[in-house]
């Protein structure tokens, strides 16, 4: 991937009101087209960090540089509009992006085809399974056509087989579209399976506590031995970070 920096975070700090520091001196830069997994235990501020990158919240200290076009965000809940069909949900993103009415339908269908859901285009969210809903949400995020895609534990609520499938889909979409992806998760294996780089955040306050770079990323599966080996190593480090909070 190219060496350009898509997201640069410098000395970032965040506290809510007079509460404790949630993020402390976070430094991170993400290259354009890179797939970074942000990993951490509960309460480490990973979602906070993602919201800051998305511009949904403002940092207390420090600076965040993101592309001027902004970032698309995908949440743990698909958060589809329940009154709209899958296609209309994708079209809403296109409409808010300023795509003319005449072009929306075709483009929405194309995006749904990208996530393998062209047959379910006229179905409403309640008629879709959890995995399908998340794929629609992915299509909607892609419809925003922003260079950066932020994902906040998007597969956490899915069963293992579906999650596995969506890992493959996401990887395929990432390779095809060249998006920069920041993927937040608390699942070590998921991080080791998906990321080119895994960034471990410590808890309370959140700091970057470790970083693993994976040189060879194609052909990985959740059950691959190298994923397992990396998971073991990251888990050990994660446990060490969590234990620090016991003292």
């Amino acid at each position: 991937m190219s060496g350009q920096t898509a997201i640069r975070i410098e000395h970032l700090g965040k506290r809510f009101g007079a509460g404790p520091l949630v993020l402390d001196d976070v430094n991170l830069s993400v290259a354009a087209g890179e797939f970074v997994c942000l990993l951490g235990a509960s309460g480490c501020g990973k979602s906070t960090l993602l919201n800051l990158i998305a511009g949904l919240d403002r940092p207390t200290t420090g600076a965040i540089d993101v592309p001027a076009e902004g970032a698309a965000v995908m949440f743990q809940e698909s958060a589809l509009m329940p009154w709209s069909t899958a296609r209309q949900n994708v079209e809403l993103a296109l409409r808010l992006r300023g795509v003319p009415r005449s072009a929306r339908r075709a483009e929405a269908m194309e995006l749904l085809d990208t996530v393998g859901l062209s047959d379910a285009a006229e179905k409403r969210p309640h008629e879709l399974s959890g995995g399908m809903r998340q794929r629609v949400a992915l299509a909607r995020a892609l419809a925003q056509d922003r260079p950066v895609l932020l994902m906040d534990e998007p597969f956490a609520a899915l069963d293992a087989i579906t999650r596995d499938l969506l890992h493959e889909e996401l990887e395929r979409v990432w390779r095809r579209t060249g998006r920069t992806i920041v993927f937040v998760t608390h699942n070590v294996r998921e991080a080791a399976r998906l990321g080119q780089r895994v960034v471990l955040l410590s808890s309370r306050p959140g700091r970057v506590a470790g970083e693993w770079r994976i040189a060879e990323t194609s052909g990985r599966r959740i059950e691959s031995p190298e994923v397992a080996a990396l998971s073991i190593e990251i888990t050990e480090q994660l446990r060490k970070e969590i234990r620090r909070n016991a003292a």
Partner: protein, 338 residues
Amino acid sequence: MPHDTDAGRVATQERIETSAVETPEGLDTLPGAHYSTEGADGADGTDSTGGADELRSLAAGLDRLQTDPERAPGAWRRFTTSVLPPIVFVIVLVAAWQLYVVIAQPRPDIVPGPLDVVAAISEGWESGRLQLAVVTSLERGVVGFLIAVVVGTPLGLLLAEVKPLRRAIGPIISGLQVLPSVAWVPAAIIWFGLTDATVYFVVLMGAVPSIVNGLVAGVDQVPPQLRRVGTVLGAGPGRLATLVVLPAALPGYVAGLKQGWAFSWRSLMAAEIIAVGGTIGFGLGSMLDQSRELADLAGVLATILVILAIGILIELVVFAPLERRMLRRRGLLQGGTR
């Protein structure tokens, strides 16, 4: 299992570099093959076409397993479950009434039988008074209700979205809902005299609070996640309100409209009974009052039945299908009795 090396692949050996923290032990010397033994060829590469096809069929299989086929209830089933029971009930009720009249032989001026009431209705129809009253009342009810919608909707949105305004006006609007709007009739007569304005004023005081409250409740129940999504997708406050908040609040809004209509119709009847004469035309309420003055109980009952029937008809023809469609679209209606 021999695995194919794609042109794009840099190395078959897995290499994991650790920066900043710890040196990995043994991680960079993992065996060459990336994949554990997989059943079929082609299941490995996510970028090869075979892999993509396999992925698709797997996804299709999962999708099929995880979704239920749509089960639309048949027309006959809908007839037997939702149309037939109330009809049967009404028939039984009328039969019991007729039976009582036949057996107990009460004074017809105190307990008229069903046939007397039917006769009163047809008499009203032949003289044209019934049609006149229905048209006058219905027109006023509908116009009054529409004005209430036009007034109540922006007011409700404003109250739902502007917190200080809501703290100030919210309790008063809720209070107005408790106050019977008939209570406004004397004041309205003093202000507007015996004109249509009096009737409309009373209807508005009845319907607007219901519509406002319904909309506010609907907006309160919009999941915050949907607003966040709207913001992330790039909607400003205006488009967030029209494209996300309003459609999301629709169930509460429709419930408010339904109640608003009921209040409009009730207030209208009350106003028509009390305010008779002047330029106020001849509505169902006036007809009711006239029958009372003539001590024509069959006529009174006939008018009551017509008022009731119109209320039910509007509910069945306008609000029930609207509500059912809306709830079904959102998956909030599954095998219900509606």
